[in-house]
Subunit: 209 residues, 2 copies
DNA sequence: TAATTGCTGTGAAAAAGGTAACGCTGTGCA
DNA sequence: TGCACAGCGTTACCTTTTTCACAGCAATTA
């Protein structure tokens, strides 16, 4: 059993989204090159990624959409579902809370945390907001494995440490800071400044031609 | 003159941020291994990335922080500055407007657009929000090269087409949809669902050990 | 029935990305 | 002075990721 790369995991998640759209359009089956066109990648890439799954397509009809989605579900999702905590209910934190609300049944943000007393002990965008003092208790109680960090950068490392100490094994960090975490914690940064500057740089190159 | 990869561009942007923090802590010089530690990468990686710049460090003192920042500025930024437009002033769009407000003098969001009449023709989070009908005119007028897309997924392609038609050469897309764009337009997706699912997947793996 | 077609799964090749190693250089110290 | 050192720039190497290419297969057609 070979382990699957982070890039493939990301694309599988993308394929699932695209397949869901195709299904809505009353599609029954799909070929690798169709999925590739939708995902902006090559057909070979799609087929290679799908090798991680235990589902095989038919050379004649391609992949059955519902079966493929189910197979990706089985592969990506925890059977009993996974709970996520979000720390820092500011502008971005609230946007994210509303965005992930009810999006995936097997992966939902079940608790929010903040240190601002105006925000705690009430529901914000559909999610209860707890004080930081309760973090450890709630993470344990709800068996939370993933933490989303949307606090200011100077508070990010402290919050990360608290989450890790409470038992989280994955962090999604939106603060513009590089966090330290032990190897048993998977860390992913979403760096919007970097993304925008990349786009700016290459758009300038393209425009100059 | 070899061209620089997107990954290196991203890391240069990150180094600049980290260097800024170091400068605030009254640092004068920095070694590649120090910057590497801050960026969670290897010293060789840092040195290699910096080869794109025309600034060379001293083997004895390392890199002078201010000079290195200046050199990255020269490399990444447009000398006259670059303007960005944001389309879709919803939860996420507003968060982004406030976040990028005054962050980088050479790269600022100078106009927002929406098709909701309650949002247009007024200032939102410091930025004037125009109706979609003005998009073409304003993009030309302000010489906007980059568009940020924060509209619902079903509207994303239409908005992208409008931006491209207006003359934009780079798109930063936050909608969960894969957009089509001609090769002279650089396209970058920020896919939060994908990121969160990746973290969820690997956190489960780590937790099982 | 036999040849043709178009797509899958997968080994092999190629490309991209990252790491290690080495020569070089200025500095501090015996 | 001359030698050991620490870190830079760069090349060569290694790993990961992507693409290419082709056997195999079921439906279709002559
Ligand atoms: N707004 C954006 O679009 C955007 C984009 C990219 C990155 N970010 C980053 O995301 C983070 C949040 O951005 P924002 O715009 O929502 O900021 P914000 O100031 O609106 O929200 C920050 C929230 O974190 C809470 N907080 C602060 N310190 C805390 C602590 N120690 N423990 C718990 N909660 C704490 C605050 O009470 C506040 O509710 C920042 O690091 C920002 O740089 C934001
Ligand atoms: N909120 C989040 O944290 C989050 C996270 C990831 C992705 N996204 C994606 O970002 C996008 C925006 O999310 P949101 O939560 O801000 O949604 P939202 O509904 O709050 O905002 C969407 C905005 O786009 C405007 N709009 C709709 N159609 C338009 C059109 N054709 N032209 C111009 N403007 C139009 C609406 O008037 C509204 O102001 C969505 O695609 C969403 O899936 C959001």
């Amino acid at each position: 059993m070979k382990k699957t790369s982070a890039k493939t995991i990301g694309r599988l998640s993308l394929y699932r989204l695209l397949l869901d759209n195709l299904r809505r359009d009353n599609g029954i089956t799909v070929y690798s090159h169709e999925l590739a066109a939708a995902a902006n990648c090559s057909a070979a890439q799609v087929r290679r990624d799908l090798m991680s799954l235990d589902y095989a397509g038919s050379p004649v009809h391609g992949y059955r959409i519902t079966d493929l989605i189910e197979s990706i579900d089985n592969f990506l999702d925890h059977p009993q579902g996974q709970s996520v905590a979000l720390v820092g209910v500011g502008n971005l934190g609230r946007a994210i809370l509303s965005y992930f609300r009810g999006r995936r049944p097997k992966l939902s943000i079940v608790a929010a945390f903040d240190d601002d007393e105006h925000k705690i002990n009430r529901v914000i965008n559909g999610t209860w907001c707890y004080p930081m003092a309760d973090l450890r208790k709630i993470v344990k109680e709800k068996n939370i494995l993933v933490g989303v960090i949307t606090v200011p950068p100077n508070a990010a490392q402290t919050v990360a440490d608290q989450l890790i100490e409470a038992g989280v094994h994955g962090l999604l960090n939106f603060a513009p800071a590089r966090l330290k975490a032990p190897p048993q914690v998977y860390l992913e940064d979403v760096d919007m400044t970097m993304s925008l500057e990349k786009v700016a740089y290459f758009s300038r190159l393209r425009a100059e031609e």
